[in-house]
Symmetry: C2
Subunit: 288 residues, 2 copies
């Protein structure tokens, strides 16, 4: 199939129209990939678009700063909005369409429906940010109806989000594959995030502690240390750089519950630098 | 298009398989209609299947007694199950496929996702049956992913359910049309319901009071009576037959809030005869 995607991509704001385009492409036998984003795109998003373009005939990128996944005291108003640069970036990576709806399109007057994912959304980010994952699940469910692609790509950096999305897709039988792609990092190891832009130069230097802590945790894990010791390695790294620890936990990658013996695990960390929260994680392979 | 549907219909229990059949039919240009039911089918359901068969090339009927829409003290265990008769009935009306999943298929281990519709689900049945409409919305969302038909048919008898489903379909942009079809009645006017089977002969005679009350309400409405008077006509009819009134209200047909001046309305009634709850409603045309 292909060729496709003349740069620049076509920007659509109408959900009916983007759905028609995706359905027509699939009817023509084209494989369609979808990268949902909140804009403020960085190299992590770019890698998702590249992966989608490599695996699919057409790529849709959605750019929508979803108000429902921000709490009342969170950073909705100051969240970076860089639409023109975002469109140029994804065009360069092979996106054919950008879907950029208005909030009033996603949530018209009288909107009353929420998608709620219980267990895997309850702890960690769900505990710190009440309502966040309901906002995520609701908008992703909506996006998957409007952009009925073959496959959607999410970054591993927001690990719990990928668990919540996969749980919702399975439970509601939404006909889309979900691919989780590796976290992209700055040269010093800091995970790419739109919120890194909030960091002062000093905070930016200290932020590497999340990556350092996870590397130390992986070393303890390989040595066969107990989970409490692995978790403590993360905490120690954050505290050494004066970062407040929201959580530092080793859990099952799919359920986010205590890992079974001999199974893989994921180490999840969230820390606060001033007003900015940063997340990161690392997969820990099975050990006997 | 057509002809189709050799009787008896094919019974599928696998969501992947029924989805393939529906997608293939639509790809072949066939219009697919869907009638979701909990089985225990009666003439009301039959009318939905007939309507679907008249308007579509292929008809899917789902039969699934959804445990999530029953409360802990409700009638899940004694809800009538009559699969063989149901399949024969819908086959005679033109259904091509029956989708009859197991509960463990709809809700596998680890299932954690709910679809919640706030405002229109809060009052009336939602107030009497906490969690009921979340169970309905969740299973209907799942069914609409598994059976991606052109159009789904619901009976007007469960008016609030039709409002909740339409709200969910609009809010999540689920690509299916929802048709609401007229209530089918017994000769004395009692609305067809699977739960009518619970009524004793004496309760069955008294049950006509719901229809009588709604007819009286429609007469008061036509005369220009105030809403409180219209509602009182319904209550009086139920009380005259010794039926406990759960609610008797005149509301906006789409929002279930107070109707505006000069708009259409719907009168909703729910009453209890012994352990059995019965619902009914009547649309009231605009009046100046």
């Amino acid at each position: 199939m292909k060729p496709h995607a003349p740069a620049p991509p076509v920007v659509e704001t109408d959900p009916v129209r983007i759905r028609e385009l995706v359905v027509a492409a699939r009817r023509a036998g084209r494989r369609v990939g979808f990268v949902p984003t909140m804009g403020a795109l960085h190299a992590g998003h770019a890698s998702l678009v590249e992966r989608a373009a490599a695996e699919c005939d057409d790529v849709v990128v959605s750019i929508f700063v979803n108000p429902k996944q921000f709490g009342p005291r969170e950073d909705l108003d100051r969240y970076p909005r860089t639409l023109a640069a975002d469109v140029a970036l994804v065009g360069g990576k092979g996106a054919r369409w950008v879907f950029a709806p208005e909030a009033s399109t996603a949530y018209p007057a009288g909107h009353a429906t929420s998608v709620v994912v219980a267990a895997p959304a309850a702890d960690f980010e769900g505990a710190v940010r009440p309502g966040h994952f309901s906002g995520v699940a609701t908008v992703v469910c909506w996006l998957f109806q409007v952009v009925p692609a073959d496959v959607a790509y999410f970054g591993a950096k927001d690990w719990q989000q990928t668990v919540v999305v996969r749980r919702m897709v399975a439970d509601l039988a939404i006909p889309i594959d979900v691919e989780v792609c590796p976290t992209i990092r700055e040269p010093d190891g800091l995970a790419m995030s739109s919120r890194n832009a909030y960091l002062s130069p000093d905070e930016r230097r200290r932020a590497v502690a999340l990556h350092e802590g996870l590397q130390a945790a992986a070393a303890r894990w390989r040595e066969g240390a107990e989970i409490a010791v692995v978790e403590e390695a993360i905490r120690a790294a954050l505290m050494a750089r004066d970062i407040a620890v929201d959580y530092a936990r080793v859990v099952d990658p799919d359920t986010l519950l205590a890992p079974g013996p001999g199974t893989a695990a994921v180490a999840l960390v969230a820390g606060r630098l001033g007003a900015t929260r940063l997340l990161d994680n690392i997969l820990l392979p099975p050990r006997v």
